[in-house]
Symmetry: D2
Subunit: 104 residues, 4 copies
């Protein structure tokens, strides 16, 4: 996945619709958590077991994909606006997690 190309497309998409004034990190973070909650909503009344079997239900499976994409697209826009290098941030976080949770 080419993250910078995706971010360029999202920037062009917003510009073509004159959405730039709304694209502050503050607003994008709000939109992102709204989409995050829509992903939670899919699982809220499911048992853990039912949540594991979601790929067997075509409609739910597609819905999960849409909500994951929604959250991710906002994350990429926040990163773009805040000049965060996503790939570097992911590597850094993985290294921090390995320190925080050593294998016993």
């Amino acid at each position: 996945m080419d993250i910078e190309q995706l971010q360029r497309r999202l920037r062009d998409f917003a510009a073509a619709r004159r959405w730039e004034p709304y694209q502050t990190p503050k607003n994008l973070a709000m939109a992102m958590v709204v989409e995050a909650a829509e992903l939670v909503e899919i699982f809220q009344w499911l048992t853990p077991e039912e949540s594991l079997a979601i790929a067997d239900d075509a409609a739910r499976h597609q819905h999960v994909g849409e909500e994951i994409a929604d959250v991710m697209l906002y994350l990429l826009q926040i990163a773009d606006q805040c000049q965060v290098d996503v790939a570097a941030a992911l590597e850094r976080k993985l290294a921090l997690n390995a320190i925080k949770h050593p294998v016993r």
Copy 2:
């Protein structure tokens, strides 16, 4: 960014710590929204203008990168557990957004 390789690393990381029983999509979605809210928290008392200038503050800039990474790592794990192809889901969503929001 190689998404499938990242997902493999996350799977190995969880397996080495015997976290698999906890890694249901339901639980991962909860963890994801918690991280999403931690990203929101950075911006909650900032003006829109201050949120735009976050890259000028080194500590906050790094904090934003960490929270973006946290949300994204959980999204990748949810996608992995639910057998969602992230790159395909992103392309599909971009196409849907273009239909939903035509340029006027």
Copy 3:
């Protein structure tokens, strides 16, 4: 507002619909954060100033009331299931906040 009476009504409402198996604190917390995000959604693209003037827009004003109620009703059910005394928890929190944030 009589909190215990409200909680009793919510319990009866769920029982009449045979929802008890779904009413775990875990599930209710998920439903609660989904409603919390729906309240956030109302404000996501508004300027701070526009958010202050929401009472002037009858439709939005009513929408805000509905989402506040949704979050609160789930909070009351979580408190009920977890045997939390809401009034006591509020007083305790106000006292903690006064210690945490002294007037300067």
Copy 4:
């Protein structure tokens, strides 16, 4: 519980700390969803059964009470700023829920 008296206390608390410029509904909604996610966090890795037994764990029980209070205090402030009558909104929502989910 006297909601209006609580709202007055919250207003006085914010005024004494000169927080009014920050107390827009937009900012308060962000703070509210952050606290909502902190309540979710308590339950994220618990089984449904463990979440039902939270009252048996004194530390967790108190933690749940604190997070419920945090969310509720922000809801009361949003309602205050938006001129929403909380008790009326709750009654209205209960009536709507009864229509939306008839007993079968």
